[in-house]
Amino acid sequence: MTNGNGKLLGQERLQELAQKALSFSSADQTQVTIGIGQNSLTRFAGSIIHQNVAERDATVAVRAIIGKKIGFAVGNSISDEAIKATVEKAIEFARHQQENPDFVSLPKPKPIQKPVPTFFDSTAEFSADDRAAAVEKIVKAADKVNAHAAGSLSTGYSEHIIANSLGINAYDADTSSTFTTVITADTGFGYAQRISSDITKLDIDKAADEAAKTADRSRNPEPFEPGEYDVVLTPYCVEDMVSFLSWMGFSALAVQEGRSFMSGKFGQKICGDNITIWDDGLDPRTNVRPFDGEGFPKQKVELIKNGVANAVVYDSYTAYKEGKESTGHAMGGTGTQGPYATNMFLAPGNATVEEMIASTDRGIFVTRFNYTNIVHPLLTIFTGLTRDGTFLIEDGKITKPIRNLRFTESILDAFSNVEMIGKDLMLCGAATVPALKIKNFRFTGATEF
């Protein structure tokens, strides 16, 4: 195990703090989560750095359970007195609580696997000067097309331990890095994003070129009439759709409360045969996190299998309620938001984006969605706009940039109309997904740029 070149307190020290916290508690069951780390971020716009920050913070969160009464407290100091005060606050709150008859127990320990490293010195050591040097490269890519660059480059490292009075004692340290840019070429815009635990894998040069090229091609977009069109969506758009499905319905809590589109539909077809979505926090193609917010190992869950509603993710609360075992998807904190799938995959197909465009007589290529939001969760209807490069496809070719359009569409309807699926997967946040070609996507409005 790395010690992050002295940046980390280390497993032993965090275990000592966690055991101390548990020893302060007189509750029937107690869970303590201690996290500590640093995040740094450089923001740039108009090709200059306008904001550049670093923050070092800690979290000490305690769930105390007396009978079936649950109290929660969180602080940000790791001193003995502060940890004791947080434990006492959680117990005080538990005493004032009402019984929760659905609560059974905190989870019991289960072996945790870690398939790949999650901490990279390259990321933890990346300095403000390194970030500025990377931004200089992006600015150069924008200069090549007489454009200017905006965006951010962030890096972070953290270590955390989750321990409970039933023997869970899970420690991990990880790093993260994210690069986002919007390049503006007069009236044209282009976008790129890359995410990795290892900053050396971000390939910022290639991403910046991708954004610059899109910006250059999308100058002087023409007004375009909304309506139903075939669309080619990049992985950025597809991730947005999959994430909304997760938010609206891949949680056992949403099913138990009857507010999920999966409720009452298990074993039934809910979208096209060619759609399979699963969650796997141990797959090296995602940001691997070996355990969840309760220190329970992450399991692979097949959410939608060949278009059929198959399963949802659980934390211990929702699992014990049904006499099942958690799937390792607890979010931590108070737990009120329920479990959540955050490492999803949409099964790849065998097409390239070029082939999708070539097969389209008349359609729209969308680089990115903007400000998407749920309109009707049970019907999976969402709305939003296109952004940063929207193009008309005619006779198998991109012919011109068009102004941004608003869509209002059911995600499951759209996933029933998928004609082609990209062969390459891309990590774009909560999901690792391919590009998609979808028939008859509903655009309901237009904007002025």
Partner: protein, 488 residues
């Protein structure tokens, strides 16, 4: 504390900073969430730390830490300075700040009942009582209630000589009833989706009488299950207060942020259609529309004594008789505009984040109608209430909102209930169609506790004062086709 801040500021100057400020913040939060007759979460949070902002070589640097000691302060100042030096590798010109008079003093927001002193049982029972009433309606499958209280102690000091202490208490609550039946799900909330919040004490929560309104929202949610779909049409639209507050937030509050206008939010939240050439010339709304950004509004969730750059709270004209006339600004953006002073809109989400331009209380000033008069005066329209969904483009022009409920208006009377209402438009066309605004008796300053902006993401608590208003010829019912298909 002054000794600590002086050491930091001196260290920053020693390391070459032409300007530095430090904020030390101690925060406390208590939250209670009720769901389906159970206390879903009872949580206490505390938070303490400091952040140092510097200008070195004409560029910004910022660093922060949760360890409030002299030794850590030295490291944090060094880090902020080295970050600023790295920033200066990519600059066009040195950062300039509009001047501000140094200020000293201790300031406290007003509250009658400290919510942290109210027994937990009293607060829990109030929500449980409301919850029980909502669940008496059989169609209600999810009943929820929440309360949130914050106390913030902030010290601000700058190399220009300011030393300001501010203490604030903020409180709020709300309830929601969700009816589910046969593939349909409908929600009603009170007093607003997510609750209503203010810079007040527990008296603000008591004032909403949540228990008295639990039955009516549960009945409305149940009735919505069987209500007809909102038609797809162009009609006059009358908006209820909490929905109009969000309309103001998205279509006025965000586009008047000068950092968006200057492009520094372009890669994330976006820019603004209200470019500087439009200032004092562009017709934003009808001549009935007057909007101010008022950080001095008593009890406003976006009110304060000084912003996080030590600039005193102000009331700034944003739209005067329909003409766009002002922005939310910082010292840096004010200098870029050539103004003599900042409008005082810089706030940070705690000690760990750098201040950015945030809404204060963006208030649509009251008109001279009453709600009843507006309804009576409307031949063919809908009255839409409660926030359901929201979306707007990255220049803040094309928006689409969904509301929890609407009622048809025919020949001056409210009629049948409609489900899944949506409306859409272009910001300035929509506000130019505003021809009736209710008066001050029906005006309320709503508090929105969760405005997200910036990278890393910052959450701000902001306010919007509005009274029910009418907008002519609005496109409604955008999702009619999808919803009807699902019913077949």
């Amino acid at each position: 504390m002054k000794e600590f801040t002086e050491k930091i500021l001196q260290k920053a100057k020693d390391l070459g900073a032409s300007y530095a400020d430090v904020r030390i913040i101690k925060g406390a939060n208590e939250s209670i969430n009720i769901k389906n007759g159970k206390v879903d979460a009872l949580a206490a949070a505390s938070d303490y730390g400091f952040g140092v902002r510097v200008i070195v070589n004409g560029s910004w640097g910022f660093a922060s830490s949760f360890t409030v000691t002299d030794e850590e302060a030295e490291k944090v100042v060094q880090q902020a300075v080295s970050i600023a030096r790295a920033s200066s590798r990519l600059k066009r010109e040195d950062v300039k700040l509009a001047p501000v008079e140094p200020a000293e003093g201790h300031f406290e927001s007003e509250w009658k009942i400290n919510p942290f002193d109210v027994p937990l049982e009293d607060k829990i029972n109030l929500l449980l009582d409301a919850d029980k009433i909502m669940r008496q309606q059989p169609e209600i499958k999810i009943s929820e209630g929440q309360m949130n209280f914050w106390k913030t102690d902030e010290t601000y000091a700058s190399t220009e000589g300011s030393y300001i202490e501010q203490v604030k208490i903020e409180s709020g609550a709300g309830i929601e009833a969700t009816a589910i039946e046969a593939g349909e799900m409908q929600r009603r909330s009170y007093p607003a989706f997510g609750g209503d919040y203010a810079s007040r004490g527990y008296e603000f929560v008591e004032g909403w009488n949540l228990v008295d309104h639990a039955e009516s929202i549960a009945k409305e949610a149940a009735e919505l299950l069987k209500a007809p779909q909102c038609p797809s049409d162009t009609r006059d639209l009358i908006l209820e207060g909490s929905m109009l507050a969000l309309q103001v937030h998205e279509s006025c509050g965000h586009p008047i942020e000068l950092d968006r206008v200057f492009g520094t939010e372009s890669s994330f939240a976006g820019t603004s259609f209200l470019t500087t050439d439009k200032l004092n010339t562009f017709r934003y709304g009808s001549d009935k529309v007057n909007i101010v950004a008022d950080a001095t509004a008593p009890g406003g969730l976006g009110s304060f004594s000084f912003d996080d750059e030590g600039v005193p709270a102000q009331c700034v004209d944003i739209v005067k008789n329909g003409i766009f006339s002002g922005y939310l600004s910082s010292r840096e953006t004010a200098a870029q505009m050539g103004w003599e002073s900042s409008g005082g809109a810089m706030r940070a989400d705690g000690w760990s984040r750098i201040p950015i331009i945030r809404m204060t209380n963006i208030n649509l000033l009251p008109g001279d109608w009453t709600f009843d008069e507006i309804i009576k005066d409307t031949k063919d329209g809908i009255y839409a209430a409660g926030v359901q969904s929201w979306s707007i483009d990255d220049k803040r022009l094309n928006f689409q909102f969904g509301t929890e409920v609407a009622w048809e208006i025919k020949d001056g009377s409210l009629g049948r209930m409609l489900k899944n209402p949506t409306y859409t438009g272009i910001t300035y066309e929509f506000w130019r169609g505003c021809d009736a605004i209710a008066g001050k008796d029906e005006w309320h300053l709503w508090g929105v506790p969760s405005c997200g902006k910036g990278e890393p993401m910052q959450t701000a608590r902001v306010g919007h004062g509005v009274a029910p208003s009418r907008f002519r010829n609005v496109r409604i019912g955008v999702m009619e086709s999808q919803s009807s298909e699902s019913e077949e």
